[in-house]
């Protein structure tokens, strides 16, 4: 039994989308070939729908995606930081940040500041400059004092050390008597020389101390 016009119209989309079986397709085309009503219908609907299908999608307005993201996962700045979080938490970066933070804390406390004592005025550039200037002078003065102190210590040490070749030239050491364990004469200086050296040393220390205090 051949198809009528109503059947053709009902199955038109199946024909256009190739959903008819081989037998149905044959019947469809047989009717369409000889029908003055159906042939133009198939051509027009097929032609128009192909043009509709060829339309490109409409471009999304540029603001749409940012607005959606803002509404769902928050503002953009936060999103960027949250996206970087996994990278920043990698051990190599995390260790680097921790070391830098520890260094800053050490520097902060070493510079004589205390978080509890910081006032708003301390953040003024002029005050920061003054503070840094004062701290640097203090550090310099402490350094100078330290070097002077060390010099005194070395002077004392060098004077306490037994003289070597000149002493040996003046008083050649006699041969120690055999069997007498006179270890003192080797390690300690001569009694007479020792007293002279002590008085010299005392005078030197007093002089240096006076000089240090006058500075």
């Amino acid at each position: 039994m051949s198809w009528n016009c109503e059947q053709i119209e009902e199955r038109l989309s199946d024909y256009l989308d190739n959903l008819l079986s081989a037998g149905e397709r044959t019947e469809f085309e047989r009717h369409a070939a000889g029908c003055a009503r159906c042939t133009p219908l198939i051509a027009r609907v097929g032609g128009i729908i192909r043009r509709v299908q060829s339309l490109a999608p409409i471009e999304v307005p540029p603001r749409l995606v940012p607005v959606i993201l803002d509404q769902t996962i928050g503002p953009r700045g936060w999103r960027r930081w949250l996206a970087m979080a996994p990278t920043l938490l990698q051990p190599r970066f995390a260790m680097g940040f921790a070391t830098a933070a520890a260094s800053l804390v050490i520097l902060f406390y070493a510079s004589g500041l205390s978080p509890a004592k910081i006032r708003k005025a301390d953040l003024n550039p002029v005050n920061i400059y003054r503070s840094v200037n004062r701290q640097s002078h203090l550090v310099y003065a402490r350094g100078v004092k330290y070097v002077n102190d060390m010099r005194v210590v070395y002077e004392i040490q060098s004077r306490l050390r037994p003289p070597e070749s000149p002493v040996r030239e003046e008083t050649p050491t006699p041969e120690p008597p055999v069997g007498s364990p006179d270890q003192k004469s080797q390690g300690a200086p001569h009694p007479g020389r020792s007293s002279t050296r002590s008085s010299n040393l005392y005078a030197f220390v007093v002089t240096q101390t006076l000089a240090g205090s006058s500075q």
């Binding site: 609907v45 128009i48 192909r50 409409i58």
Partner: protein, 189 residues
């Protein structure tokens, strides 16, 4: 490219970039369905935002076995559009639905667009106008099939009506759309 289902799992674990990727991947589809259904760019934007907000809140209810993410997204979009259509029916009866033609004419007069682009923009506007004359049932069927390129089975999952009904709606929608476009002077391919 990561599959949608994997991105959904990443989203549920709180991975923001996975959600960004999903939005970038599917915003065009959602916006186009909304725009073709409503015929209004501002409304389509608002509805697209609403769709993604709803999707974001109900991601946990997505099951991969119940169909692809795109089908689920399309289904949510379609349901919102139907709600929106019912909500605004009274307003629409008093408004003009031909709001797209002036925009096309502005583009045409102001630019140096090649003829092909002008012709496509004009056809797009005419299709939009013709779609607005279809009933919502036929309109959504034609949009999903011919403008979104969904398979019959996918449309059946989105609309939740028997496949026979899907076929019938697509067929009637196409014949009606072609009739209107021919009346508007559109030439067949």
């Amino acid at each position: 490219m990561q599959p949608d289902a994997q991105l959904v799992q990443d989203c549920l674990r709180g991975h923001g970039p996975a959600w960004e990727e999903l939005v970038h991947r599917h915003s065009r589809r959602v916006f186009n369905i909304c725009y073709r259904f409503t015929g209004n760019s501002t409304e389509a934007e608002d509805l697209s935002q609403e769709v993604f907000l709803k999707i974001y809140r109900s991601l946990a209810s997505y099951r991969e076995v119940s169909g692809g993410f795109a089908t689920w997204l399309t289904s949510v979009t379609r349901n919102l559009l139907v709600d929106h259509y019912r909500r605004t029916r009274r307003d629409r009866l008093t408004d003009s639905i031909e709001d797209e033609m002036p925009r096309l004419e502005e583009k045409h007069s102001g630019g140096r667009m090649p003829d092909k682009i002008v012709a496509e923009a004009q056809l797009s506007a005419q299709v939009q106008q013709a779609l607005s004359h279809l009933s919502p049932e036929l309109r959504e069927a034609v949009i999903l099939r011919d403008l979104q390129g969904l398979e019959y089975s996918e449309i059946h999952e989105v609309l939740l009506v028997p496949e026979g009904t899907v076929k019938s709606r697509i067929n009637r929608g196409r014949i009606e759309l072609a009739r209107i476009l021919l009346q508007m002077g559109v030439k067949p391919d």
